[in-house]
Symmetry: C2
Subunit: 305 residues, 2 copies
């Protein structure tokens, strides 16, 4: 019998992963979200119980995916104050797959808490976005005990192109480190593209031509494909928000600081995304960084948070 | 009869373009370089006269390609002090194709000087490197009068994949603007990659795995393909030097300054390449920026200038 699956944190990513696993035949039995109505809506849609406690998710499930916001949310669900509701109540034998972008050291801490409760945990760091979650084509980087990885591997394969876009990276925390680096470089490339298009616009160049030249030269990048046209057209509907970009660049910079590295581009990029947040543009997609560099924009006419 | 071709500035790029045009049947009759022995060696190799004056190049040629170092060199060859040797002596009817990466306003100035002398000029900005020059596969962006472009088009096509990688951009200076933007974004992406690999190395991650993950995610870029492995292996043999990267980022930042744009990533990148020059690493390929970000390197053990 396939494992019963629970989901904690069913925002855009979590909900689509849950839909995907249901589509391929897994019983998704329990969902939970800090916003109860979000969990209720998804529960109704896919026929899962919208649980009112974390402990109830664990009770119903064999494998629980967590896709929460940040380190703080991870502490809330795995290591709350004594007697508070927790995912680790009667959790012996359960497996927790933690997919949020959180700090590497939090993965190590969660692994320890799970071990103490007789449970197992695995990092399932995702370097993809919402459509890939829905289609089971996430790029998944896994960290933790290799035995735990092998135990849930068949489920993870259904989320990652039958495993073609999944890699086992190493011990707990290592996948989060790689993920932080991916997003750090992606965010820099995005902010770089925004500067290129911003200067091009100021010079009166045709941005469609400019993007085409970029795509055929040393300026080409994945973010040019995913974000270039959106920057030109100011289509900043959110796949990966500026707020998240700021958070992830911050995680990478903290890792760098601990190693006493000088990372001036990563730092400049973090400041750009922090500026977006400050100016009420943090909810825009990361492509919205072009609002800061294309003259006369600055978010004008766009919905602010 | 095919036009007789001259070359002024036969460093790595110019020499390979000359070889290519000779290979496809054009008579390359005249070569000139500020370093006389460089011109002599190439002249001997391809059977061209190594001219001792600029005026002699113009005398022998119908079309002259210039591939010199910078704005200052352009002034020296096109607008020297009175009575000094000049490419524009008896230049009526000749066409000059200017391929160096120089400032947009210099292209406008050179066009004016050429018009005064009864000659024509065209920007042929290149966004490629040495192997592409040799193989006739340059990415060529042209600026200037469209009639001039059409006149030399058959020659330029032999340098640009039969024209597949050639674009007419607009008036004189416009192609240089696009080129400056390409290199600005390329340089930022390169410095970004160096930060990603630098932090990865500091965290003890396997850089081959890390590059592979980058290549499949939002961190992917053209410079990851061209420079990633070289950064890992410290192979900084020069295709596009750090010195040139600093120059090109500087051109773009000056354009930005004139438009009162804030381009923090471009500025941070310029500072990295300036630091390389200051530390005696300016002759390394742009990939050498990783010497600044991968701990314990800093150019140690590499040949300094």
């Amino acid at each position: 019998m396939p494992e019963k699956i629970g989901f904690v944190g069913v925002g855009r990513m979590g909900a689509n992963m849950a839909r995907r696993l249901k589509d391929v035949g897994y019983p998704v039995v329990a969902v939970y979200d800090a916003r109860a109505e979000t969990a209720q809506a998804l529960g109704q849609e896919i026929g899962a119980e919208a649980c009112s406690t974390l402990a109830r998710v664990t009770e119903l499930s064999d494998v629980v995916f967590t896709v929460v916001t940040d380190d703080k949310a991870m502490v809330t669900i795995f290591a709350p104050p004594k007697k508070a509701d927790s995912l680790l109540k009667n959790a012996a034998g359960k497996v927790f797959v933690n997919c949020a972008t959180i700090s590497p050291k939090m993965h190590v801490l969660v692994e320890k808490c799970c071990q103490k409760a007789g449970a197992e945990s695995l990092e399932g760091c995702m370097a993809s976005s919402i459509p890939q979650a829905r289609d089971g084509k996430l790029y998944l980087m896994c960290g933790g005990a290799e035995a735990t990885f092998n135990k849930v591997r068949p489920i993870l394969e259904k989320l990652s192109n039958d495993g073609q876009t999944m890699r086992y990276i190493g011990a707990a925390g290592k996948a989060a480190e790689v993920k932080a680096l991916v997003n750090m470089v992606m965010n820099i490339n995005t902010a770089a593209l925004a500067e290129g298009l911003g200067l091009g616009a100021a010079l009166g160049l045709d941005l469609t031509t400019l993007r085409e030249v970029f795509s055929q030269t040393g300026a080409a990048s994945r973010v040019l494909q995913t974000d270039g046209e959106d920057m030109q057209n100011r289509d900043h509907s959110c796949f990966f928000s500026a707020e998240h970009a700021a958070k992830d660049s911050g995680i990478a910079l903290n890792l760098g600081k601990a190693k006493r590295l000088n990372l001036p581009l990563a730092a400049a990029t973090l400041r750009q995304y922090q500026r977006m947040v400050k100016e009420g543009l943090g909810h825009l997609d990361k492509s919205g960084v072009s609002e800061l560099t294309i003259k006369g924009r600055g978010g004008k006419g766009l919905k602010k948070k």
